[in-house]
Protein backbone atom coordinates (compact mmCIF):
# COMPACT_ATOMS: atom_id res chain seq x y z
CA UNK A 1 0.00 0.00 0.00
CA UNK A 2 1.27 3.49 -0.73
CA UNK A 3 2.42 6.01 1.86
CA UNK A 4 -0.51 7.21 3.87
CA UNK A 5 -0.01 10.91 3.19
CA UNK A 6 -0.43 10.88 -0.52
CA UNK A 7 -0.95 8.05 -2.91
CA UNK A 8 1.08 9.86 -5.51
CA UNK A 9 0.01 10.63 -8.99
CA UNK A 10 0.75 7.17 -10.30
CA UNK A 11 0.10 6.57 -13.95
CA UNK A 12 -3.46 6.90 -15.03
CA UNK A 13 -4.45 4.36 -17.66
CA UNK A 14 -7.21 5.08 -20.09
CA UNK A 15 -10.12 2.75 -20.55
CA UNK A 16 -8.67 0.95 -23.55
CA UNK A 17 -5.51 0.10 -21.68
CA UNK A 18 -7.43 -1.12 -18.67
CA UNK A 19 -9.68 -3.26 -20.83
CA UNK A 20 -6.73 -4.63 -22.76
CA UNK A 21 -4.97 -5.58 -19.59
CA UNK A 22 -7.98 -7.40 -18.24
CA UNK A 23 -8.58 -9.13 -21.53
CA UNK A 24 -4.97 -10.20 -21.74
CA UNK A 25 -5.30 -11.92 -18.41
CA UNK A 26 -8.80 -13.35 -18.55
CA UNK A 27 -9.52 -13.69 -22.23
CA UNK A 28 -13.11 -14.42 -23.10
CA UNK A 29 -14.43 -13.96 -19.61
CA UNK A 30 -14.21 -10.20 -20.27
CA UNK A 31 -16.66 -8.79 -22.78
CA UNK A 32 -16.05 -5.90 -25.15
CA UNK A 33 -15.33 -2.40 -23.99
CA UNK A 34 -18.52 -0.35 -23.87
CA UNK A 35 -19.33 3.22 -22.91
CA UNK A 36 -18.53 6.67 -24.16
CA UNK A 37 -17.29 8.75 -21.21
CA UNK A 38 -14.79 8.34 -18.46
CA UNK A 39 -17.41 7.48 -15.86
CA UNK A 40 -19.19 5.23 -18.34
CA UNK A 41 -16.53 2.83 -19.60
CA UNK A 42 -17.33 -0.70 -18.64
CA UNK A 43 -16.86 -4.29 -19.62
CA UNK A 44 -19.06 -7.25 -18.91
CA UNK A 45 -17.56 -10.11 -16.98
CA UNK A 46 -18.75 -13.68 -16.84
CA UNK A 47 -20.37 -14.25 -13.45
CA UNK A 48 -18.22 -17.21 -12.53
CA UNK A 49 -14.95 -15.34 -12.81
CA UNK A 50 -15.86 -12.01 -11.23
CA UNK A 51 -14.07 -12.78 -7.98
CA UNK A 52 -10.83 -13.60 -9.79
CA UNK A 53 -11.12 -10.55 -12.02
CA UNK A 54 -11.63 -8.32 -9.04
CA UNK A 55 -8.76 -9.87 -7.15
CA UNK A 56 -6.52 -9.26 -10.17
CA UNK A 57 -7.82 -5.72 -10.58
CA UNK A 58 -6.91 -4.93 -7.01
CA UNK A 59 -3.57 -6.69 -6.79
CA UNK A 60 -2.12 -5.84 -10.20
CA UNK A 61 0.30 -2.94 -9.73
CA UNK A 62 -0.66 -1.24 -12.99
CA UNK A 63 -4.40 -1.39 -12.34
CA UNK A 64 -4.35 -1.13 -8.51
CA UNK A 65 -8.10 -0.73 -8.09
CA UNK A 66 -7.87 -0.46 -4.35
CA UNK A 67 -11.37 0.89 -3.85
CA UNK A 68 -14.75 -0.53 -4.72
CA UNK A 69 -16.49 2.77 -5.14
CA UNK A 70 -19.96 1.43 -5.76
CA UNK A 71 -21.81 -1.84 -6.25
CA UNK A 72 -25.28 -1.54 -7.72
CA UNK A 73 -27.79 -4.10 -8.79
CA UNK A 74 -30.04 -3.23 -11.73
CA UNK A 75 -33.00 -5.34 -12.74
CA UNK A 76 -33.49 -5.80 -16.49
CA UNK A 77 -36.54 -8.02 -16.89
CA UNK A 78 -36.58 -7.47 -20.63
CA UNK A 79 -33.08 -8.83 -21.00
CA UNK A 80 -33.70 -11.45 -18.36
CA UNK A 81 -30.74 -10.49 -16.20
CA UNK A 82 -30.05 -8.73 -12.98
CA UNK A 83 -26.94 -6.74 -13.66
CA UNK A 84 -24.45 -6.10 -10.88
CA UNK A 85 -22.33 -3.06 -11.69
CA UNK A 86 -19.00 -2.71 -9.91
CA UNK A 87 -17.59 0.81 -10.14
CA UNK A 88 -13.90 0.49 -9.35
CA UNK A 89 -11.58 3.33 -8.51
CA UNK A 90 -7.87 3.48 -7.93
CA UNK A 91 -6.58 5.98 -5.39
CA UNK A 92 -3.06 5.34 -6.51
CA UNK A 93 -3.49 5.82 -10.24
CA UNK A 94 -6.70 7.83 -10.25
CA UNK A 95 -8.45 5.81 -12.88
CA UNK A 96 -12.02 4.65 -12.95
CA UNK A 97 -13.59 1.61 -14.55
CA UNK A 98 -16.81 -0.35 -14.31
CA UNK A 99 -17.38 -4.08 -14.46
CA UNK A 100 -20.79 -5.49 -15.17
CA UNK A 101 -21.98 -8.96 -14.34
CA UNK A 102 -25.24 -10.24 -15.73
CA UNK A 103 -26.83 -12.82 -13.47
CA UNK A 104 -29.81 -14.74 -14.88
CA UNK A 105 -32.96 -13.38 -13.40
CA UNK A 106 -34.58 -16.61 -12.33
CA UNK A 107 -31.58 -17.73 -10.31
CA UNK A 108 -29.19 -14.87 -9.73
CA UNK A 109 -26.05 -16.29 -8.15
CA UNK A 110 -22.77 -14.41 -8.22
CA UNK A 111 -19.53 -15.13 -6.36
CA UNK A 112 -18.83 -12.63 -3.61
CA UNK A 113 -16.04 -10.09 -3.81
CA UNK A 114 -16.07 -9.29 -0.10
CA UNK A 115 -12.79 -11.18 0.17
CA UNK A 116 -11.25 -8.54 -2.09
CA UNK A 117 -12.76 -5.34 -0.68
CA UNK A 118 -14.33 -5.15 2.77
CA UNK A 119 -16.85 -2.60 1.52
CA UNK A 120 -18.42 -5.22 -0.72
CA UNK A 121 -19.73 -7.00 2.37
CA UNK A 122 -22.51 -4.54 3.08
CA UNK A 123 -23.11 -3.56 -0.54
CA UNK A 124 -23.74 -7.19 -1.45
CA UNK A 125 -26.06 -7.55 1.49
CA UNK A 126 -28.04 -4.65 0.12
CA UNK A 127 -28.16 -6.19 -3.36
CA UNK A 128 -29.33 -9.43 -1.79
CA UNK A 129 -31.96 -7.68 0.25
CA UNK A 130 -33.41 -5.44 -2.42
CA UNK A 131 -32.92 -7.56 -5.53
CA UNK A 132 -32.54 -11.12 -4.39
CA UNK A 133 -29.07 -11.79 -5.77
CA UNK A 134 -27.29 -14.55 -3.86
CA UNK A 135 -23.58 -14.10 -3.34
CA UNK A 136 -21.79 -17.38 -2.76
CA UNK A 137 -19.24 -17.54 0.07
CA UNK A 138 -20.46 -14.31 1.56
CA UNK A 139 -19.62 -14.28 5.30
CA UNK A 140 -22.99 -13.04 6.50
CA UNK A 141 -25.64 -12.81 3.82
CA UNK A 142 -28.81 -11.53 5.41
CA UNK A 143 -31.17 -8.68 4.90
CA UNK A 144 -29.86 -5.30 5.77
CA UNK A 145 -32.48 -2.64 5.12
CA UNK A 146 -35.75 -4.52 5.10
CA UNK A 147 -36.99 -6.51 8.10
CA UNK A 148 -35.76 -10.08 8.30
CA UNK A 149 -39.13 -11.58 7.45
CA UNK A 150 -40.11 -9.29 4.60
CA UNK A 151 -41.44 -11.21 1.61
CA UNK A 152 -39.92 -10.50 -1.75
CA UNK A 153 -37.27 -8.16 -3.06
CA UNK A 154 -38.52 -4.61 -3.36
CA UNK A 155 -36.29 -3.17 -6.05
CA UNK A 156 -37.28 -5.73 -8.65
CA UNK A 157 -39.40 -4.36 -11.42
CA UNK A 158 -42.11 -6.95 -10.86
CA UNK A 159 -42.26 -6.51 -7.11
CA UNK A 160 -45.77 -6.37 -5.76
CA UNK A 161 -46.15 -4.81 -2.38
CA UNK A 162 -47.73 -7.17 0.15
CA UNK A 163 -51.18 -6.19 1.39
CA UNK A 164 -50.14 -6.09 4.97
CA UNK A 165 -47.15 -6.67 7.16
CA UNK A 166 -47.74 -8.14 10.61
CA UNK A 167 -51.24 -6.82 10.59
CA UNK A 168 -50.35 -3.29 9.47
CA UNK A 169 -51.96 -2.45 6.17
CA UNK A 170 -49.64 -1.15 3.47
CA UNK A 171 -52.23 0.80 1.57
CA UNK A 172 -53.99 3.89 2.66
CA UNK A 173 -57.32 5.16 1.55
CA UNK A 174 -57.21 8.27 -0.51
CA UNK A 175 -57.84 11.27 1.66
CA UNK A 176 -59.69 12.98 -1.15
CA UNK A 177 -62.61 10.64 -1.10
CA UNK A 178 -65.59 11.52 1.01
Amino acid sequence: MARPERFGRGSRLNANEIHARLRARFGDAIGDLAGARRDNFCATVAPASIADVCRFAKDDPELAFDCLSNLSGVDYPKRGVIEIVYNLYSYRHRHLFALKVGAPRDNPVVPTVSCVWAHADWQEREAFDLLGVTFTDHPDLRRILMPEDWPGHPLRKDFVEPEEYHGISTSRESLLKA
Binding site: M1, E5, D66
Partner: protein, 386 residues
Protein backbone atom coordinates in the same frame (compact mmCIF):
# COMPACT_ATOMS: atom_id res chain seq x y z
CA UNK B 1 -34.49 -14.92 17.18
CA UNK B 2 -33.91 -13.27 20.51
CA UNK B 3 -33.24 -9.68 21.34
CA UNK B 4 -31.18 -8.85 18.32
CA UNK B 5 -33.35 -10.33 15.63
CA UNK B 6 -30.31 -12.30 14.64
CA UNK B 7 -28.06 -14.70 16.43
CA UNK B 8 -25.59 -13.09 18.79
CA UNK B 9 -23.02 -15.30 20.34
CA UNK B 10 -22.80 -14.75 24.06
CA UNK B 11 -19.74 -16.04 25.84
CA UNK B 12 -19.30 -17.24 29.35
CA UNK B 13 -16.00 -16.59 31.04
CA UNK B 14 -14.73 -18.69 33.90
CA UNK B 15 -12.60 -16.64 36.28
CA UNK B 16 -11.35 -19.00 38.94
CA UNK B 17 -14.71 -20.21 40.16
CA UNK B 18 -16.67 -17.02 39.42
CA UNK B 19 -18.39 -17.27 36.06
CA UNK B 20 -19.44 -14.13 34.25
CA UNK B 21 -21.40 -13.75 31.07
CA UNK B 22 -21.42 -11.10 28.43
CA UNK B 23 -24.27 -8.65 28.50
CA UNK B 24 -26.24 -8.04 25.32
CA UNK B 25 -27.45 -4.50 25.19
CA UNK B 26 -29.50 -2.88 22.54
CA UNK B 27 -28.37 0.65 21.90
CA UNK B 28 -31.78 0.88 20.48
CA UNK B 29 -33.39 2.81 17.74
CA UNK B 30 -34.35 5.44 20.28
CA UNK B 31 -31.22 6.80 21.84
CA UNK B 32 -30.03 10.33 22.33
CA UNK B 33 -26.70 9.74 20.68
CA UNK B 34 -27.03 7.52 17.71
CA UNK B 35 -27.39 10.21 15.14
CA UNK B 36 -30.76 9.34 13.84
CA UNK B 37 -32.63 6.09 14.05
CA UNK B 38 -29.85 3.54 14.29
CA UNK B 39 -29.46 0.50 16.37
CA UNK B 40 -26.39 -1.22 17.71
CA UNK B 41 -26.51 -4.58 19.38
CA UNK B 42 -23.69 -4.33 21.86
CA UNK B 43 -22.14 -7.39 23.41
CA UNK B 44 -20.33 -6.11 26.44
CA UNK B 45 -18.40 -7.44 29.37
CA UNK B 46 -19.22 -4.70 31.84
CA UNK B 47 -18.06 -1.46 30.29
CA UNK B 48 -15.80 -3.03 27.70
CA UNK B 49 -17.49 -4.03 24.47
CA UNK B 50 -16.69 -7.23 22.70
CA UNK B 51 -18.55 -6.15 19.62
CA UNK B 52 -21.12 -3.65 18.47
CA UNK B 53 -23.17 -4.92 15.54
CA UNK B 54 -24.99 -2.20 13.63
CA UNK B 55 -28.59 -2.89 12.66
CA UNK B 56 -29.86 -0.43 10.08
CA UNK B 57 -33.02 -0.04 8.08
CA UNK B 58 -35.19 1.91 10.50
CA UNK B 59 -35.19 4.92 8.22
CA UNK B 60 -35.43 3.10 4.90
CA UNK B 61 -37.88 5.02 2.76
CA UNK B 62 -37.20 3.30 -0.57
CA UNK B 63 -36.07 6.54 -2.13
CA UNK B 64 -34.34 4.66 -4.91
CA UNK B 65 -37.54 2.94 -5.92
CA UNK B 66 -39.44 6.22 -5.76
CA UNK B 67 -37.02 7.64 -8.31
CA UNK B 68 -38.32 5.13 -10.79
CA UNK B 69 -41.85 6.39 -10.30
CA UNK B 70 -41.71 10.18 -10.10
CA UNK B 71 -39.63 11.19 -13.04
CA UNK B 72 -36.45 13.19 -13.47
CA UNK B 73 -37.60 16.56 -12.24
CA UNK B 74 -39.97 15.14 -9.68
CA UNK B 75 -37.20 13.31 -7.89
CA UNK B 76 -35.29 16.44 -6.96
CA UNK B 77 -37.14 17.12 -3.66
CA UNK B 78 -36.54 13.52 -2.65
CA UNK B 79 -32.82 13.99 -2.96
CA UNK B 80 -32.96 16.54 -0.14
CA UNK B 81 -34.22 13.81 2.11
CA UNK B 82 -31.38 11.46 1.28
CA UNK B 83 -29.20 13.50 3.60
CA UNK B 84 -31.24 16.24 5.12
CA UNK B 85 -28.37 17.58 7.17
CA UNK B 86 -26.47 18.61 4.05
CA UNK B 87 -29.11 18.71 1.38
CA UNK B 88 -27.50 20.87 -1.30
CA UNK B 89 -24.85 18.36 -2.43
CA UNK B 90 -27.52 15.70 -2.78
CA UNK B 91 -29.47 18.02 -5.03
CA UNK B 92 -26.32 18.62 -7.01
CA UNK B 93 -25.68 14.90 -7.43
CA UNK B 94 -29.02 14.28 -9.04
CA UNK B 95 -28.77 17.40 -11.16
CA UNK B 96 -25.34 16.38 -12.39
CA UNK B 97 -26.61 12.91 -13.23
CA UNK B 98 -29.41 14.34 -15.32
CA UNK B 99 -27.04 16.75 -17.04
CA UNK B 100 -24.44 14.09 -17.73
CA UNK B 101 -26.99 11.76 -19.29
CA UNK B 102 -28.80 14.49 -21.16
CA UNK B 103 -25.66 16.31 -22.28
CA UNK B 104 -26.72 19.60 -20.79
CA UNK B 105 -24.30 22.36 -19.98
CA UNK B 106 -24.99 24.47 -16.94
CA UNK B 107 -24.35 28.21 -17.30
CA UNK B 108 -21.39 29.60 -15.38
CA UNK B 109 -23.48 31.63 -13.00
CA UNK B 110 -25.55 28.59 -12.22
CA UNK B 111 -22.42 26.62 -11.38
CA UNK B 112 -21.21 29.37 -9.07
CA UNK B 113 -24.56 29.50 -7.31
CA UNK B 114 -24.32 25.75 -6.86
CA UNK B 115 -20.88 25.93 -5.32
CA UNK B 116 -21.90 28.71 -2.94
CA UNK B 117 -24.97 26.76 -1.85
CA UNK B 118 -23.00 23.53 -1.44
CA UNK B 119 -20.32 25.16 0.63
CA UNK B 120 -22.87 26.81 2.90
CA UNK B 121 -24.46 23.42 3.27
CA UNK B 122 -21.11 21.96 4.14
CA UNK B 123 -20.54 24.50 6.91
CA UNK B 124 -24.10 23.89 8.09
CA UNK B 125 -23.54 20.16 8.29
CA UNK B 126 -20.13 20.35 9.91
CA UNK B 127 -21.44 22.70 12.58
CA UNK B 128 -24.09 20.18 13.48
CA UNK B 129 -21.55 17.39 13.39
CA UNK B 130 -18.98 19.01 15.68
CA UNK B 131 -21.70 20.37 17.93
CA UNK B 132 -23.33 16.97 18.37
CA UNK B 133 -19.98 15.40 18.91
CA UNK B 134 -19.21 17.81 21.72
CA UNK B 135 -22.65 17.17 23.18
CA UNK B 136 -22.18 13.43 23.06
CA UNK B 137 -18.89 13.74 24.87
CA UNK B 138 -20.71 15.72 27.54
CA UNK B 139 -20.08 19.37 26.78
CA UNK B 140 -23.52 20.77 26.09
CA UNK B 141 -22.45 24.34 25.45
CA UNK B 142 -20.54 24.08 22.13
CA UNK B 143 -23.62 22.47 20.65
CA UNK B 144 -25.78 25.48 21.32
CA UNK B 145 -23.09 27.81 20.03
CA UNK B 146 -22.92 25.78 16.81
CA UNK B 147 -26.69 25.90 16.48
CA UNK B 148 -26.61 29.65 16.98
CA UNK B 149 -24.30 29.99 13.99
CA UNK B 150 -26.38 27.56 12.01
CA UNK B 151 -29.36 29.82 12.51
CA UNK B 152 -27.60 32.53 10.53
CA UNK B 153 -26.95 30.12 7.67
CA UNK B 154 -30.55 28.97 7.86
CA UNK B 155 -31.67 32.55 7.45
CA UNK B 156 -29.40 33.07 4.45
CA UNK B 157 -30.51 29.91 2.71
CA UNK B 158 -34.12 30.64 3.53
CA UNK B 159 -33.77 33.91 1.74
CA UNK B 160 -32.14 32.13 -1.17
CA UNK B 161 -34.52 29.28 -1.76
CA UNK B 162 -37.34 29.42 0.75
CA UNK B 163 -36.37 26.48 2.91
CA UNK B 164 -34.30 25.98 6.02
CA UNK B 165 -33.58 22.27 5.83
CA UNK B 166 -34.68 20.57 2.63
CA UNK B 167 -33.82 23.12 0.03
CA UNK B 168 -34.81 21.81 -3.40
CA UNK B 169 -32.65 24.60 -4.72
CA UNK B 170 -30.99 22.98 -7.71
CA UNK B 171 -32.61 21.83 -10.90
CA UNK B 172 -31.40 19.71 -13.75
CA UNK B 173 -29.64 22.34 -15.79
CA UNK B 174 -28.84 24.86 -13.09
CA UNK B 175 -30.40 26.25 -9.97
CA UNK B 176 -33.93 27.27 -9.20
CA UNK B 177 -33.46 30.90 -8.25
CA UNK B 178 -30.82 33.53 -8.68
CA UNK B 179 -29.13 35.16 -5.69
CA UNK B 180 -31.50 37.74 -4.21
CA UNK B 181 -30.41 41.38 -4.09
CA UNK B 182 -28.41 42.13 -0.97
CA UNK B 183 -27.76 38.46 -0.32
CA UNK B 184 -24.13 38.77 -1.30
CA UNK B 185 -23.44 41.39 1.34
CA UNK B 186 -25.27 39.43 3.99
CA UNK B 187 -23.27 36.31 3.17
CA UNK B 188 -20.01 38.20 3.33
CA UNK B 189 -21.03 39.71 6.66
CA UNK B 190 -21.80 36.26 7.99
CA UNK B 191 -18.48 34.81 6.78
CA UNK B 192 -16.64 37.72 8.37
CA UNK B 193 -18.37 37.03 11.66
CA UNK B 194 -18.08 33.27 11.48
CA UNK B 195 -14.41 32.68 10.73
CA UNK B 196 -13.08 33.95 14.10
CA UNK B 197 -15.77 31.96 15.84
CA UNK B 198 -14.21 28.74 14.59
CA UNK B 199 -11.12 29.71 16.56
CA UNK B 200 -13.26 30.45 19.55
CA UNK B 201 -14.90 27.07 19.24
CA UNK B 202 -11.45 25.50 19.19
CA UNK B 203 -10.50 27.40 22.32
CA UNK B 204 -13.64 26.31 24.06
CA UNK B 205 -13.64 22.63 23.37
CA UNK B 206 -11.25 21.25 20.77
CA UNK B 207 -8.08 21.42 22.81
CA UNK B 208 -9.70 20.93 26.19
CA UNK B 209 -7.74 18.28 28.03
CA UNK B 210 -10.74 16.21 29.01
CA UNK B 211 -12.03 16.29 25.45
CA UNK B 212 -8.76 15.28 23.83
CA UNK B 213 -8.30 12.50 26.36
CA UNK B 214 -11.69 11.14 25.31
CA UNK B 215 -10.83 11.24 21.63
CA UNK B 216 -7.11 10.67 21.25
CA UNK B 217 -6.07 7.18 20.20
CA UNK B 218 -9.67 6.00 20.19
CA UNK B 219 -10.74 3.88 17.22
CA UNK B 220 -7.72 4.42 15.04
CA UNK B 221 -8.52 3.66 11.41
CA UNK B 222 -5.49 2.80 9.35
CA UNK B 223 -5.32 4.14 5.79
CA UNK B 224 -5.53 0.60 4.44
CA UNK B 225 -8.74 -0.07 6.31
CA UNK B 226 -10.12 3.28 5.31
CA UNK B 227 -9.71 2.52 1.63
CA UNK B 228 -10.80 -1.08 1.99
CA UNK B 229 -14.06 -0.09 3.65
CA UNK B 230 -14.50 2.78 1.21
CA UNK B 231 -14.50 5.49 3.84
CA UNK B 232 -14.74 8.90 2.25
CA UNK B 233 -14.59 12.55 3.08
CA UNK B 234 -13.35 13.69 6.48
CA UNK B 235 -13.22 10.05 7.65
CA UNK B 236 -10.71 9.25 4.92
CA UNK B 237 -8.80 12.46 5.34
CA UNK B 238 -8.66 11.93 9.07
CA UNK B 239 -6.65 8.79 8.40
CA UNK B 240 -4.07 10.81 6.58
CA UNK B 241 -5.09 10.27 2.98
CA UNK B 242 -5.20 13.59 1.17
CA UNK B 243 -8.06 12.97 -1.22
CA UNK B 244 -10.91 15.31 -1.98
CA UNK B 245 -13.20 14.85 -4.97
CA UNK B 246 -13.27 18.61 -5.46
CA UNK B 247 -9.51 18.67 -5.97
CA UNK B 248 -8.71 15.28 -7.40
CA UNK B 249 -11.69 14.64 -9.69
CA UNK B 250 -12.85 18.23 -10.12
CA UNK B 251 -16.32 19.07 -11.28
CA UNK B 252 -18.37 22.25 -11.56
CA UNK B 253 -16.20 25.36 -11.10
CA UNK B 254 -13.88 23.93 -8.45
CA UNK B 255 -10.83 24.05 -10.77
CA UNK B 256 -11.11 27.85 -10.71
CA UNK B 257 -11.13 28.07 -6.93
CA UNK B 258 -8.25 28.02 -4.53
CA UNK B 259 -8.54 26.09 -1.29
CA UNK B 260 -6.66 23.60 0.86
CA UNK B 261 -7.65 20.13 1.89
CA UNK B 262 -7.05 19.54 5.61
CA UNK B 263 -5.70 16.15 6.55
CA UNK B 264 -5.42 14.42 9.90
CA UNK B 265 -1.88 14.50 11.21
CA UNK B 266 -2.16 12.68 14.48
CA UNK B 267 -1.89 15.84 16.60
CA UNK B 268 -3.17 14.33 19.78
CA UNK B 269 -2.56 10.65 19.22
CA UNK B 270 -2.25 8.24 16.34
CA UNK B 271 -3.16 9.33 12.83
CA UNK B 272 -6.72 8.31 12.15
CA UNK B 273 -8.17 8.53 15.65
CA UNK B 274 -11.40 10.28 16.52
CA UNK B 275 -9.67 13.56 17.21
CA UNK B 276 -8.21 13.70 13.70
CA UNK B 277 -11.57 13.22 12.06
CA UNK B 278 -13.03 15.89 14.30
CA UNK B 279 -10.33 18.48 13.67
CA UNK B 280 -10.47 17.88 9.91
CA UNK B 281 -14.10 18.97 10.01
CA UNK B 282 -13.26 22.08 11.99
CA UNK B 283 -10.65 23.08 9.43
CA UNK B 284 -12.89 22.29 6.48
CA UNK B 285 -15.34 24.87 7.72
CA UNK B 286 -12.70 27.54 7.33
CA UNK B 287 -11.82 26.33 3.86
CA UNK B 288 -15.46 26.52 2.88
CA UNK B 289 -15.52 30.13 4.02
CA UNK B 290 -12.60 30.80 1.69
CA UNK B 291 -14.40 29.17 -1.21
CA UNK B 292 -17.57 31.14 -0.64
CA UNK B 293 -15.66 34.39 -0.55
CA UNK B 294 -13.94 33.61 -3.82
CA UNK B 295 -17.18 32.59 -5.47
CA UNK B 296 -18.96 35.73 -4.41
CA UNK B 297 -16.10 37.76 -5.83
CA UNK B 298 -15.80 35.88 -9.11
CA UNK B 299 -19.40 35.11 -9.92
CA UNK B 300 -20.24 36.20 -13.48
CA UNK B 301 -23.59 37.47 -14.59
CA UNK B 302 -25.89 35.54 -16.82
CA UNK B 303 -28.62 32.97 -16.62
CA UNK B 304 -28.64 30.48 -13.80
CA UNK B 305 -30.35 27.62 -15.56
CA UNK B 306 -30.09 26.04 -18.98
CA UNK B 307 -33.10 25.27 -21.05
CA UNK B 308 -34.29 21.82 -20.17
CA UNK B 309 -37.46 20.24 -21.42
CA UNK B 310 -40.22 19.89 -18.91
CA UNK B 311 -40.68 16.30 -20.02
CA UNK B 312 -37.01 15.50 -19.72
CA UNK B 313 -36.00 12.36 -21.57
CA UNK B 314 -32.27 11.80 -21.60
CA UNK B 315 -30.93 9.22 -24.03
CA UNK B 316 -30.48 5.69 -22.76
CA UNK B 317 -27.28 4.99 -20.90
CA UNK B 318 -25.78 5.06 -17.46
CA UNK B 319 -23.49 7.38 -15.58
CA UNK B 320 -21.56 7.43 -12.35
CA UNK B 321 -21.34 10.82 -10.70
CA UNK B 322 -19.03 11.50 -7.78
CA UNK B 323 -19.17 14.68 -5.80
CA UNK B 324 -17.95 15.84 -2.42
CA UNK B 325 -20.84 16.06 -0.04
CA UNK B 326 -20.37 17.07 3.58
CA UNK B 327 -19.89 13.43 4.44
CA UNK B 328 -17.53 12.73 1.61
CA UNK B 329 -17.58 11.28 -1.84
CA UNK B 330 -21.17 10.56 -2.73
CA UNK B 331 -21.64 8.22 -5.67
CA UNK B 332 -24.72 8.39 -7.91
CA UNK B 333 -25.10 5.53 -10.36
CA UNK B 334 -28.03 6.47 -12.58
CA UNK B 335 -29.40 4.43 -15.48
CA UNK B 336 -31.70 5.93 -18.04
CA UNK B 337 -33.76 4.02 -20.58
CA UNK B 338 -34.77 6.96 -22.71
CA UNK B 339 -38.14 7.50 -21.07
CA UNK B 340 -39.15 10.31 -18.78
CA UNK B 341 -38.65 8.10 -15.73
CA UNK B 342 -35.22 7.08 -14.47
CA UNK B 343 -34.60 3.37 -14.77
CA UNK B 344 -32.41 2.98 -11.72
CA UNK B 345 -30.85 5.35 -9.29
CA UNK B 346 -28.33 4.03 -6.80
CA UNK B 347 -26.92 6.38 -4.19
CA UNK B 348 -23.76 5.30 -2.42
CA UNK B 349 -23.23 7.51 0.59
CA UNK B 350 -20.35 8.12 2.95
CA UNK B 351 -22.26 7.13 6.07
CA UNK B 352 -23.07 3.69 4.65
CA UNK B 353 -19.40 2.82 4.49
CA UNK B 354 -18.67 4.46 7.79
CA UNK B 355 -21.20 2.45 9.73
CA UNK B 356 -19.96 -0.80 8.24
CA UNK B 357 -16.54 -0.30 9.78
CA UNK B 358 -17.96 0.09 13.28
CA UNK B 359 -18.32 -3.63 13.81
CA UNK B 360 -14.61 -4.02 13.31
CA UNK B 361 -13.63 -0.89 15.22
CA UNK B 362 -15.71 -1.62 18.27
CA UNK B 363 -13.78 -4.61 19.53
CA UNK B 364 -12.39 -3.87 22.97
CA UNK B 365 -13.65 -0.35 23.02
CA UNK B 366 -15.67 1.01 25.94
CA UNK B 367 -19.31 1.85 25.59
CA UNK B 368 -18.52 5.50 26.13
CA UNK B 369 -16.03 5.27 23.29
CA UNK B 370 -18.65 3.86 20.96
CA UNK B 371 -20.50 7.14 21.29
CA UNK B 372 -17.35 9.05 20.42
CA UNK B 373 -16.75 6.82 17.40
CA UNK B 374 -20.27 7.21 16.06
CA UNK B 375 -20.02 10.95 16.43
CA UNK B 376 -16.57 11.17 14.89
CA UNK B 377 -17.64 9.21 11.82
CA UNK B 378 -20.47 11.69 11.37
CA UNK B 379 -23.18 9.16 10.66
CA UNK B 380 -26.57 10.36 9.66
CA UNK B 381 -29.22 7.70 9.50
CA UNK B 382 -31.13 8.97 6.45
CA UNK B 383 -28.00 8.63 4.37
CA UNK B 384 -27.39 5.11 5.51
CA UNK B 385 -30.87 3.81 4.93
CA UNK B 386 -32.15 6.02 2.13
Amino acid sequence: MGLAGFEVEVQRHENGGLATEDMTLSMGPQHPSTHGVLRFVVRADGEVMKEAIPDIGYLHRSIEKIAEKVGWHGFMPYTDRVDYVAAMPCNQGWAMAGERLGNIEVPKRGEYCRVIATEFSRIHSHLLSVGSMAMDIGAYTPFTHAIREREYINDLLEELCGSRLTFHYMRIGGVGWDLPPGWRDKSLAFIKRFEPLVDEFNDLISYNKIYTERLANVAVITPEDAVDFNLVGPNLRGSGIKYDVRKDEPYSVYPELDFDVPVGRGEMGAVGDCFDRYIVRMREMKESCRIIRQCLAQIPSGPVIAKVARNFKPPAGDCYIRLESARGDMGWYVVSDGTSFPYRCKIRTGSFSAISIIQKLSRNLMIADLIAVIASLDLVAPEIDR
